[in-house]
Symmetry: none
DNA sequence: TATGAATGAGTCTTCATTCAT
DNA sequence: CATGAATGAAGACTCATTCAT
């Protein structure tokens, strides 16, 4: 199908570098057919967002509920996002190239679809947790959402690369989930309390400069 | 200068979508001149990596020392990377588009420059920490490096966007550093031990709204 | 109706530049419909001439009678032509573009419809008048017909333009008729005989209506 | 030369229907060359007007002087226009198609070149003549300019056609000049005073050259 | 060293036309 | 009768590249 060919090629080469001709070729039709269905490059991009990205975004964010705990929200989103990305392997590339980038061809279109209310729910919960002392104060309640989505996209996009460089298997979905959720919830450093019989005054990181 | 024009355009439009003609125009010369200095798109990409990206990479990784603590390494890298990116605002876009992506035009070139030995130092330190119980066991010693670099690139690339969506100022370098380092080292959740009725309340960041 | 849309577009853009697609759009149908009714651009052009231009030509020339005076013939034709053009505002443009021009798309089709016999009547009357000394000898009996038709087409086609350039109202049909008929019959220069201190009541041409 | 090929093709097929490819072919170069010199269709049209039409217009209108008689002005313009058109046989077609027509591609460009002041000189002289009783009152001082130019363009454009229809030679420049000037100055009807048994040699207009 | 001229290949897009329904 | 789908050809225009100067 045309949209399928298009999304794959967008992931492979980027949207700007993907000509109608290539999409047509990949889909086994003539370039004019692509124009017949998507009169315009804009129309094509719209269709990609409307028919492919929007449902994914919805499936990730819809289950977020106001009174979930932060940990539940986050691990839930990470889970659903990893699952969604596994079904749509073209997403991470495209996300990073066409949405996160300032002039990404899909940026505006996707931003309009972002469930800002749901995002605010997380922000609110994080801020509340910080006031109550259950969430680390260094974390920014707004940025954390970008960190979360970004970590998933980034690690799924580079999963193959990791295996390549370090000559091992690409990390599985389970490994990614464990790493990402672990990082988001606990960070690197082990709880002082969890450690064997030690005080934790010295917990603040010392930086060289 | 030609390379300067090129890197900016790469950040704005992506490397594949940046023609010699536009680079020439931006630099105020004729397309033939660009072709004269960089006989090939490959040569141009090589030059960008050699003359612009490699020094940055070196400045970030060189200071990493075998016997630093993990926290020191990480906060140091994050610091230097944030500083380097501030001097080269074109980097985050390009990094995400052309390096992290599977078919990114700079990927292979940059990977060869990655100081794998330094990366292994971090991986080793993390793994050691996990054996010693000082590093959270969920964290993947290899993936953490990608998380770290990725978080910096991601947040610097989307700093403007954040301000846009939430109608506030774009987060400053200091805010980004605090958030990223905090996330990497502590994660969201507060130490159980640190919680009840204890000190750190005053650490909260004040935001305007 | 399709032919109406077509004639308007021919006048606006020229026949060669008017695609089936635009005609269809203007008429509110699909391009296939246009093609269904006029299998060919030629068929469409034929239809325009047969159904729209031919009746107009007939209405202009039919009343010309062998024994009318030259003045009667000419003012009659000018009158009827101005009236016909007012009902079919698309005609002047198309006439100049597609009929008078060497490769005009309607030229051959229309020339076959030209009532050559009627044209010859005028030519004959003019030549006779010249022999009798009532018609100015500089006038070419053949060219005068082209002058006559051309002046009407030209002035109706440029009526709007005149208003535009000279910031006045576009000349009305009455003004055009007076100017054109006056020019054809009397030219610019006033009769020497008619000049100072003499009556000239009889000089005005009598028109049938 | 490219412009020469272009102007000829514009006359033959109309500007809208003349593709860069045809111009290139006619000039014996590749289509890209045409784009190299005229980056745009607009640029091409500009060049046609600037380099080909403007000089012609100037050569026709420049000699018009405030205190010439109307007859001198008109016969002078007709003469120079006929001569100019003879050197540039592509002009009449193009004039009628692309300048007189409402959406003609050259219309706006040429109108800006029209020497409005010179046109006003004629209009003024005609109006003055009408007040003094030397110019026929039916003539419109503004329209007469369009009649004059139009008659030349029209008759030169259809000169071939005339020969065709009436199976005679195409009218020569001299014939055209005599007919057009005669029509403009005297019209069809012979002076009442000049009629009975009189020569009319003296009626011929004196032209400067 | 630098550049204007030139070009073949490729881009998006529109067109007239066909065909199955 | 009418039309949505499909397409090959051609449109304007851009590009990387070559070459002579």
């Amino acid at each position: 199908m045309l949209l399928t060919a298009a999304t794959r090629l967008f992931a492979e080469q980027g949207a700007a570098a993907t000509s109608f001709a290539v999409i047509a070729q990949r889909a086994g039709v003539t370039p004019a057919v692509v124009h017949y269905y998507f009169s315009d490059r804009n129309a094509l991009l719209d269709a990609v967002v409307d028919e492919r990205l929007a449902p994914l975004i919805a499936s990730v964010w819809d289950p977020v509920e106001e009174d979930d705990s932060v940990a539940t929200m986050i691990s839930g989103i990470v889970d659903r996002l990893l699952a969604g990305v596994e079904r749509n392997p073209w997403v991470p590339s495209t996300w990073m190239r066409e949405i996160l980038n300032e002039n990404g061809l899909l940026r505006k279109r996707v931003l309009q679809r972002l469930p800002v209310d749901k995002v605010r729910i997380i922000g609110g919960a994080v801020a509340r947790g910080q006031r109550e002392g259950t969430i680390h104060p260094d974390i920014d309640p707004v940025l954390i959402v970008f960190s979360m989505l970004g970590l998933v996209m980034l690690h799924t996009a580079t999963a193959g690369l990791v295996g390549n460089i370090f000559h091992c298997e690409a990390p599985s979905r389970a490994v990614l989930r464990r790493h990402i959720t672990g990082l988001l919830l606990h960070g690197l450093e082990m709880d002082a309390a969890a450690q064997p019989g030690r005080a934790c005054g010295r917990r603040r990181v010392r930086r060289k400069r």
